[in-house]
């Protein structure tokens, strides 16, 4: 009985260590990466960059390239036509 408890404890000890320093470490690393991307602080940063970009574009005479403008114009007109919205 005593021998069984001790041997089990030693095996359990090493299994847990192995699990911690392989699987758990890897999961932690990826969870932290995901968390840092979806954190409110990161979203705040994206929001800030987005509005900064709008501000900069508003100051320009032309926002789009003539080719892109034409492409978007045709696309929006077609969509509006299909939706039958004036």
């Amino acid at each position: 009985m005593k021998s069984f408890i001790l041997k089990s404890a030693i095996i359990f000890f090493f299994c847990l260590l192995l699990f911690r320093f392989t699987i758990v470490s890897l999961v932690n690393e990826y969870e932290n990466k995901i968390n840092s991307h979806i954190s409110s602080s990161h979203i705040e940063q994206i929001k800030k960059e987005f509005f900064q970009s709008i501000k900069e574009n508003n100051e320009k005479d032309n926002i789009l390239d003539p080719e892109d403008a034409e492409l978007l114009s045709i696309f929006i007109k077609k969509i509006l036509n299909e939706l039958n919205i004036r």
Binding site: S3, I5, L16, R20, V24, N28, E31, N32, S39, S41
Partner: protein, 541 residues
């Protein structure tokens, strides 16, 4: 006067001085963010008890605003300390300031009692003289963070205190099985588990040691011991924890489950080595970095020395163990004690690391392993003269005494903000790597300074610290709302406030958070610098 009487007299005087100092300074500490939550926790259980037993009591209408136990996020919190305190508050009709003062005094008083037990743990179980036992107690109480927490941390310090007492009686039980030791071991193990369910490891460890005791030292067989010990333990735990009363098994497992994880609604990140991390995904070295940064360096040194000496001695024995019917895990009773103490600190740290348990705000959740580490440090000092000579031992003791004196000076100089202690090796690297004043103890000092400059003012907050807790600690001549208006962290209030306060403790990376920004038209007005570390800062227009 013979030597023994003198030694006992010095010990008594030492403890009396410690009690006097604690009684004189306990009201200097600010109400920390956790304390109002624990006060409500007591009321929640009180309301639950009244609803169960006296549903038509008038008191229930007074507790109308208190949440119901089963619907509250604190339902799995222990109430051993909170429930009696809330009952006293109601019974004696204490005002809220006095209720918090009482909480501070009782937290210190229980810690003080546990230091006496720690003294006897060293004296009786380690068989040291009064001097080395007192040295152990001094190491414990002169560690600045432990000293400071012993006045307001009604969870971690209380758990540390009860674990010391429970360990003392568990060892007594293993060495001398009688009804008194059985009852006291069950009682204090249950009390410790009520504060933090993690305390359950102590009765389990005690039982495993009992199984490994030589047969001639056992008074009961393993099964009988198991029944007596765990029946007593669970019965006391059940009686002292109202949450278990109606649904003991299911709620006990819920407590176990919630204790290892992190309440989902808290949703905050912690600063660790320059990055903001989720407390659920901490690297394995979190405890070690915090412990090595905030423990006086000589103490760290003797603790490692003690552990090394113990491991060397024990492994010499362990490697010769034969795995047969007569397997012995220890040679002598003293070796059993040292192994028990070693496992008392090793097991929690091992499981916290391997099971990826949630930790935050330093290593406070593991403060309870500190007395065991000190025990092993004293064990190392005690056997030094066997390995080397007495001069070597005296040299080490002198170093420890110098460190204790230096700590006492730090405690005196920085009172009541000792919780910002970092040792001299870690101090240069703290800024932007580890949080400093997460309890916000320095807030009071700074607001007091502002009150000395101006009678009426408004102050906005640019950090994650509840400034309005100061209302419980303001001097009688000043009043919250009349003299000071706390405007919180809302951005719209920033430009209208007289001052903006920050203690640089954040629950998110402050880089992109507008609420943590200081407007450019505000300039630094006052900095609270303790031991070379900026604890908090006030900005004014």
């Amino acid at each position: 006067m013979n030597k023994k009487v003198l030694s006992n007299l010095i010990t008594t005087i030492f403890f009396l001085i410690f009690l006097c100092i604690g009684s004189l300074i306990f009201n200097d500490y600010l109400v920390t963010p956790d304390e109002p939550l624990h006060r409500i926790n007591g009321f929640i259980s009180l309301k639950y008890i009244f609803e169960l037993f006296i549903p038509d009591s008038l008191l229930l209408s007074e507790l109308g605003n208190i949440p119901d136990l089963n619907n509250d996020w604190r339902k799995t919190y222990g109430v051993l300390f909170d429930l009696p305190l809330s009952s006293i508050e109601i019974l004696f009709n204490l005002n809220i300031q006095d209720a918090f003062l009482l909480r501070h005094f009782l937290t210190f008083l229980i810690f003080f009692i546990s230091t006496i037990f720690f003294f006897y743990l060293l004296k009786i179980h380690l068989k040291t003289n009064n001097f080395l036992s007192l040295l152990g107690v001094l190491i414990l109480i002169s560690t600045p963070r432990i000293f400071s927490n012993s006045f307001y941390n009604g969870k971690d310090i209380l758990f540390l205190s009860l674990i010391i007492i429970a360990t003392f009686y568990s060892l007594n039980l293993l060495k001398n099985f009688n009804k008194k030791n059985l009852f006291l071991a069950c009682l204090f193990c249950a009390f410790a588990s009520n504060i933090r369910i993690m305390g359950i490891y102590l009765p389990v460890l005690t039982y495993i040691f009992y199984v490994f005791l030589p047969d001639d030292q056992k008074f009961k067989n393993n099964i009988n011991f198991f029944l007596y010990f765990f029946l007593g333990y669970f019965l006391i735990l059940y009686i002292t924890w109202p949450f278990l009363w109606l649904n003991p098994l299911e709620n006990f497992f819920l407590i176990l489950k919630e204790s290892a994880s992190y309440p989902i609604h808290w949703d905050f990140e912690i600063l660790y080595l320059g990055n903001y991390l989720n407390p659920e995904n901490l690297p394995w070295h979190y405890f070690f970095v915090w412990f090595l940064s905030t423990t006086p360096i000589i103490f760290v040194f003797i603790i490692f020395f003690g552990i090394l000496i113990f491991l060397k001695k024990y492994f010499n024995f362990f490697l010769k163990i034969t795995f047969d019917k007569n397997l012995k895990l220890w040679k002598t009773s003293d070796q059993m004690t040292s192994l028990f103490i070693f496992l008392c600190f090793f097991i929690p740290i091992f499981f916290v690391i391997t099971l990826n348990s949630t930790l935050y705000n330093g290593w406070r959740h593991l403060y309870f392993v500190y007395p065991f580490l000190i025990y092993l440090a004293i064990y190392g000092l005690n056997v030094l003269s066997d390995i080397f000579n007495n001069n070597f031992k005296n040299f080490f003791i002198t170093l420890v005494v110098i460190q204790i004196i230096s700590n006492i000076y730090f405690i005196f100089k920085t009172h009541p903000v000792q919780n910002v202690y970092f040792n001299f090796i870690s101090k240069p690297y703290i800024e932007n790597n580890l949080p400093v004043d997460y309890w916000g103890l320095g807030n009071k000092k700074t607001i007091d300074f502002l009150l000395s400059q101006q009678i009426n003012f408004s102050v906005a907050n640019s950090s994650f610290t509840p400034l309005n807790n100061l209302k419980y600690s303001l001097k009688p001549e000043f009043s919250y709302s009349k003299n000071i208006t706390f405007l919180g962290t809302q951005e719209k209030n920033k430009n209208t406030s007289d001052f903006i306060f920050t203690n640089y403790y954040y629950n998110r990376n402050p880089k992109n958070m507008e609420k943590f920004k200081i407007p450019e038209n505000y300039k630094s007005y006052y900095k609270l610098i303790i031991d070379g570390i900026i604890v908090n800062e006030v900005f004014a227009k």
